[in-house]
């Protein structure tokens, strides 16, 4: 089988899994839909490995294969095929997406047991992975946009999975609306590019872009900025990030899926995929790099203050995606995608650990109510700490190599990029701090009642309630199920977290400056046309960067250790001292309030104005009322005749008859 055959298989398995679980929901018992869905993704992962093996057998310059199944549309000079593109970049993405998704599926089998919507859940999950794989395998903009929109729809379905929870349905709507903004940007960008280059296929478009556009051509910059609108909406970058923290309303494995494997990495992939355009439009690339740097700093500061465990990790995702966007925008494609991979490992791991803790807390998510879980949950403690170490870029973990490589590339570009790199290093310190804020607050300190109970062997139980609002719930379909799962007690969760913990620790080994260069080398055929191909930082400067990054990480972890363990209470004093700053961060820089004031309120005001004045007064009163008024006045005479009295009608009849008779009499004489 050729590499493209494997590419079609990568798409076919999740699609089949989705169909089987969704149509078989009535007959598939217990955990079976979960295993079917997991097997589908596992097979997709194997197919991705098959594609990898096949593509590695080819000479480097022939590693970009396009295969078309049928012509999607051919009209008016536009021809779009249902085509997939198998090249190192898409194979890399398929491996990361299907591999991490597979582990998340396995985790979900245990985590979602007892929920009354298991088959629906796994059908959505498979659909999500299928959409993401379609997105990364697309060979032209149309298929990419289809996958793009599918991902948005799947995220809506999964965020609102507990559909009787109001906060969850609102979060789903918010995510969908934000994503549609991005979809619109992407569609307009595709139209602009089609208009100028005459094709929507990636290969010919990028080859023709050089001739079609002068450097920094206005249309091209506009198209790239519109691509960025799409990428930023999907990847939750400023100012389109507000949906991602709210997406925490979905089940925890869904958060892991959105944050680690699918969805948010799509924007990074898109920028990497369209890198020939961005290199022709450096202005757009700079905008992207600046926004990436702003986002990574902004999100890291917010993660310092929020207290919801899942939201801390969510803001850390926004921040880490900011690093990736910065990376691919400064032409550090290999580094950006390497960070995408390591981030997928440790972020999925962190969410799985968080899910286990939330299970132990019987659904509560506030870290103010957690503490001392170290002895009660040793496995979760170890794996979560590994995830936090990788997130904090602790020396020799995977995040250490990937993050610092991005920053080394950024410095290497020189000039104003220095500022971005410094912002990146400051945020790296904040990252290490908030990562260990989670660890120290959740696992150290005095055990809370739930932890004590767990040490005695009982899983805590609370009456089901919404963790955000405290509203009482039941455990029927549409709300979380009655059982809570912790990693210590269910082997599928352990089976998923173990490999991820291992990868989060050692995956950095594939790309150690001066020693191994697997990712960079593997992706080279895709990016060798880059004009920055030969400007990679020297090994020496990368090593300096690693040392600096490692020291920053160690220092920040030490500070967190001091603040939370050696001198507990320091944070309370800080919070009182800098109440305004804390409120600013705790309220997420007031972005939600800003959007509320700028977009939602005016829209609501305009809507109620429309309802009151336009609809009621103008349409109902003037147009409808006016028309009926004219008819009413015009027909008043006719109505006056209709007395309803029988003799009136009889009289009229006779008078008419008499008049006719009289007429004929006069006429005939």
């Amino acid at each position: 089988m050729s590499a493209t055959d494997y590419g079609w298989l990568i798409l076919a398995f999740p699609l089949a899994g989705m169909l089987i679980t969704s149509f078989g929901w009535r007959v598939l018992p217990g955990r079976v839909p979960g295993w079917i869905a997991s097997a589908a993704i596992g097979l997709a992962f194997l197919a991705a490995i098959g594609a990898l093996v096949q593509i590695q057998d080819l000479p480097a310059e022939e590693r970009s294969l396009v295969d078309s199944a049928w012509t999607y549309t051919a009209t008016a000079g536009v021809r779009v095929d249902m085509a997939i593109l198998v090249d190192p970049l898409s194979v890399f993405m398929c491996l990361v997406v299907s591999g991490v998704s597979f582990l998340i599926h396995v985790y979900s089998v245990a985590y979602m047991t007892g929920d009354r919507g298991l088959a629906r859940y796994f059908a959505y999950l498979n659909y999500f992975v299928f959409s993401m794989l379609l997105l990364v395998l697309a060979a032209n903009f149309v298929i990419l946009i289809i996958g793009w929109a599918f991902v948005g729809a799947a995220s809506y379905l999964l965020i609102s999975f507990w559909y009787r929870r109001n906060t969850a349905t609102y979060a789903g709507i918010k995510a969908f609306v934000m994503n549609v903004i991005g979809d619109v940007g992407l569609v307009i960008a595709a139209f602009l590019l089609l208009n100028e280059t005459g094709t929507l296929d990636f290969g010919p478009m990028f080859a023709g872009a050089e001739d079609a556009f002068p450097r920094n051509d206005g249309t091209l910059v506009a198209a790239c900025l519109l691509i960025l609108v799409g990428a930023f909406a999907k990847s939750a970058q400023l100012p389109l990030h507000t949906w991602l923290p709210d997406a925490m309303e979905g089940p925890t494995p869904v958060s892991a899926l959105i944050h680690a494997a699918t969805m948010v990495t799509a924007g990074v992939y898109l920028i990497a995929r369209t890198h020939p355009l961005f290199e022709l439009a450096p202005t757009a690339a700079d905008v992207s790099a600046i926004i990436g740097a702003l986002t990574l700093f902004f999100a890291a500061t917010v993660a310092l203050a929020v207290t919801d465990l899942k939201r801390i990790i969510a803001y850390s995702t926004i921040s880490q995606i900011g690093y990736m966007v910065l990376g691919v925008s400064v032409a550090a494609y290999g580094a950006g995608l390497f960070h995408l991979m390591t981030h997928a490992f440790f972020k999925a791991l962190l969410f799985m650990g968080a899910g286990s803790i939330i299970g132990a807390m019987a659904g509560l998510q506030d870290i103010d109510r957690m503490g001392g879980f170290r002895r009660a949950m040793p496995f979760t403690f170890v794996t979560f700490t590994i995830g936090a170490l990788a997130l904090a870029a602790f020396p020799l973990t995977s995040g250490f190599f990937s993050k610092d490589e991005i920053l080394a590339f950024t410095i290497n570009r020189g000039g104003g990029y220095w500022v971005l790199a410094i912002v990146g290093y400051i945020a790296a310190a904040l990252t290490a701090f908030y990562a260990f804020r989670m660890v120290f607050r959740v696992f150290y300190g005095d055990p809370v009642p739930e932890a004590r109970e767990l040490e005695e062997g009982h899983l805590a139980h609370h009456d089901p309630q919404n963790p955000m609002t405290g509203e009482a719930e039941d455990t029927d379909v549409g709300f979380p199920g009655p059982e809570h799962a912790i990693a210590e007690r269910s082997w599928p969760m352990k089976a998923a977290m173990g490999p991820l913990a291992l990868l989060a620790l050692v995956a950095g080994a594939v790309q150690i400056p001066g020693a191994t260069d697997v990712i960079e080398h593997f992706l080279e055929p895709t990016f060798e046309d880059s004009r920055f191909h030969d400007t990679a930082p020297t090994e020496g400067s990368e090593l300096v960067g690693l040392v600096v990054g490692g020291l920053i990480s160690l220092a920040a972890i030490t500070v967190a250790f001091t603040v939370y363990l050696r001198r507990p209470g320091t944070t309370d004093r800080l919070r009182e001292r800098f109440a305004a700053v804390h409120a600013f961060l705790f309220n997420k820089w007031y972005f939600d309030e800003l959007y509320d004031a700028v977009f939602v309120r005016p829209a609501a005001t305009a809507g109620s104005f429309g309802r009151r004045v336009i609809e009621t007064d103008f349409v109902q009163g003037f147009i409808v009322g006016g028309a009926t008024g004219i008819v009413r006045v015009g027909t008043s005479f006719a109505r006056a005749i209709q007395t309803g009295y029988l003799r009136g009608y009889a009289l009229l009849l006779l008078l008419g008859l008499g008049a006719l008779a009289l007429y004929f009499l006069i006429a005939s004489s």
């Binding site: 006056a640 009295y645 029988l646 003799r647 006779l654």
Partner: protein, 99 residues
């Protein structure tokens, strides 16, 4: 006898019937008056038939009688239904068609 006498009588009966239909409020009487109108018409038909010596007018009068019988059946049915629904039998009470 001159046909004019018959026609005058016919018109007289017809006008009595028409006046009754217009003036009276009791549906039974209105039905009676309708019969008078029809019979006035019948009388005119038969008078002309006699004048012309043909039988078409007489046959036509017979058909009118049959129609009148049918109409009475329906009219009485309506009156009975009215009586079942309301106590007062008065056509001025039935003004649902007022515009």
């Amino acid at each position: 006898m001159d046909v004019v006498w018959f026609l005058v009588l016919s018109a007289f009966i017809f006008c009595i019937g028409a006046a009754g239909v217009i003036i009276r409020r009791d549906p039974l009487v209105i039905l009676l008056c309708l019969e008078l109108m029809l019979n006035g018409g019948n009388l005119a038909l038969i008078a002309f038939a006699r004048m012309h010596g043909g039988e078409g007018g007489q046959i036509f009068a017979l058909i009118v009688m049959v129609i009148a019988a049918c109409e009475v059946v329906i009219g009485l049915g309506i009156i009975v239904a009215m009586y079942r629904n309301r106590l007062r039998i008065d056509v001025d009470e039935m003004t649902e068609l007022r515009g």
